[in-house]
């Protein structure tokens, strides 16, 4: 069993609107998986269904091969939610001491190290912690458990750049211990930095999915400059995602047949041909635009 999270044709309806409109995703074991999407694209809804906090309208979802809602599975996964809700009347020391006995796999050395790294004030009440501090405490409580799967909903939300980097670093360290990480974010940069695999969704559907390295190697932008540009239709073929005409320049985003497209340049008397690699941010923005153009 390689997939840690699997959904098939998952839908969720709130009133007349579909927050999820047939979402089929797979989270491979042992990987850091970035769940990318704009606000309102359905990320949190998906995570809530996986955790059995809300019911799906239709479709299937499994965690570690079991249907969602299984208590046995719940023990094997860690979760840090968007709101980072914790027992606010306890101090940092108390909440750690309270949580520890629930988990036989608790790692004391991780606890000691993270307390130092995160500079958490042991005697302060949780209610008096800043948002960044609460995130770090929530992370600590989850990372010490050494779970098989760690799900995080927008973990960098409200963190300053230094804290965000520390947070990412702690995820990387946890991944090195074999934990599968599934984290949602609308920050392309952090996903680009640490993810092995991405799942990008828009309007409750998968827009882009795959190994990040594979996507980086697959997509190219070809820029062609003409005295008299041919119609965009001249470039329509398999693998072409978008053709944009800007004055004398035709810019083509393609995932296949890049050579063939570049070779059209000399054939159609282009003045210059330029092939560029494409970052995730550009790819994401183009896909969102393409999505809107289609609908």
């Amino acid at each position: 069993m390689k997939a840690v999270v699997e959904t098939r044709e998952l839908t969720k309806r709130f009133g007349d609107t579909y927050a999820l409109a047939g979402l089929t995703i797979t989270v491979p074991r042992g990987q850091i998986v970035g769940f990318l999407g704009r606000n309102g694209s359905g990320k949190t809804t998906t995570i809530k269904i996986l955790l059995d906090v809300i019911r799906r309208t239709s479709g299937e979802a499994t965690l570690l091969g079991e249907p969602t809602g299984s208590v046995a599975v719940r023990r094997r996964i860690g979760f840090l939610g968007e709101d980072k809700r914790l027992y606010s009347y306890m101090t940092v020391r108390e909440i750690i001491a309270f949580t520890r006995p629930f988990f036989p796999s608790w790692r004391v050395e991780t606890e000691t190290r993270l307390l130092m790294d995160f500079e958490l004030p042991l005697n302060r009440k949780v209610s008096a912690l800043s948002k960044g501090m609460r995130t770090k405490l929530g992370l600590l409580l989850n990372l010490c458990r050494n779970s098989e799967l760690l799900i995080l909903d927008e973990p960098s939300e409200g963190l300053d750049p230094v804290m965000a980097e520390q947070m990412l670093q702690s995820l990387v360290r946890q991944a090195a211990d074999g934990t599968t990480i599934f984290f949602s974010s609308h920050q392309v940069a952090e996903i680009e930095q640490i993810a092995d695999h991405i799942i990008a969704i828009e309007k409750g559907r998968v827009m882009l999915e795959g190994s990040l390295d594979h996507l980086r190697q697959k997509f190219r932008r070809v820029n062609l400059v003409f005295d008299d540009p041919p119609p965009p239709e001249a470039f329509r073929r398999d693998g072409v995602d978008r053709v944009i005409v800007q004055g004398r320049t035709i810019s083509i985003l393609a995932s296949r047949n890049v050579d063939e497209i570049a070779a059209l340049g000399p054939l159609l008397a282009a003045k210059s041909v330029d092939v560029q690699s494409v970052g995730l941010k550009e790819l994401f923005l183009e896909k969102v635009k393409g999505d809107h153009a289609d609908s």
């Binding site: 990987q31 090195a176 940069a189 930095q193 190697q217």
Partner: protein, 128 residues
């Protein structure tokens, strides 16, 4: 060894790491027998996925530049391959110097030349 990465460049991060380590070996910053950082250490330091470092080390081992000893880390390889590459690297740097001189004499700015080179490489990479 200092490795700086550019995650948003669109070039796979493992290839960027391979490139940096290869370069360190070629210029002699890393020599035969030197130990490379452990996978988790480098992943933490660069804040990238451990799988990315594994991929980079596997690539370097395939090239014969390093050797992975199970559980004992990665070492810069002594083999002839690295030496012949070093020689080739020196020869190539002469060719590059000559080419750059020629391009300048043609009136191209360094920036223009760089763009021409990059376009050429990316087309090749895309063709693979």
């Amino acid at each position: 060894m200092v490795i700086r990465l550019n995650p948003s460049s669109g070039i796979p991060i493992y290839l960027q790491i391979v490139e940096k380590i290869r370069h360190s070996i070629e210029i002699g910053a890393l020599v035969e027998g030197d130990q490379l950082p452990a996978i988790r250490t480098l992943a933490e330091e660069l804040v990238v996925s451990p799988n990315t470092v594994v991929k980079a080390y596997d690539d370097l081992e395939q090239e014969g530049l390093i050797r992975l000893r199970h559980g004992a880390g990665a070492y810069v390889e002594k083999g002839n391959l690295a030496k012949s590459r070093l020689r080739r690297f020196r020869e190539a740097s002469v060719v590059v110097k000559e080419t750059v001189r020629k391009l300048r004499s043609m009136g191209l700015s360094d920036d223009e030349s760089r763009r021409l080179f990059e376009a050429e490489w990316i087309e090749k990479a895309a063709a693979r």
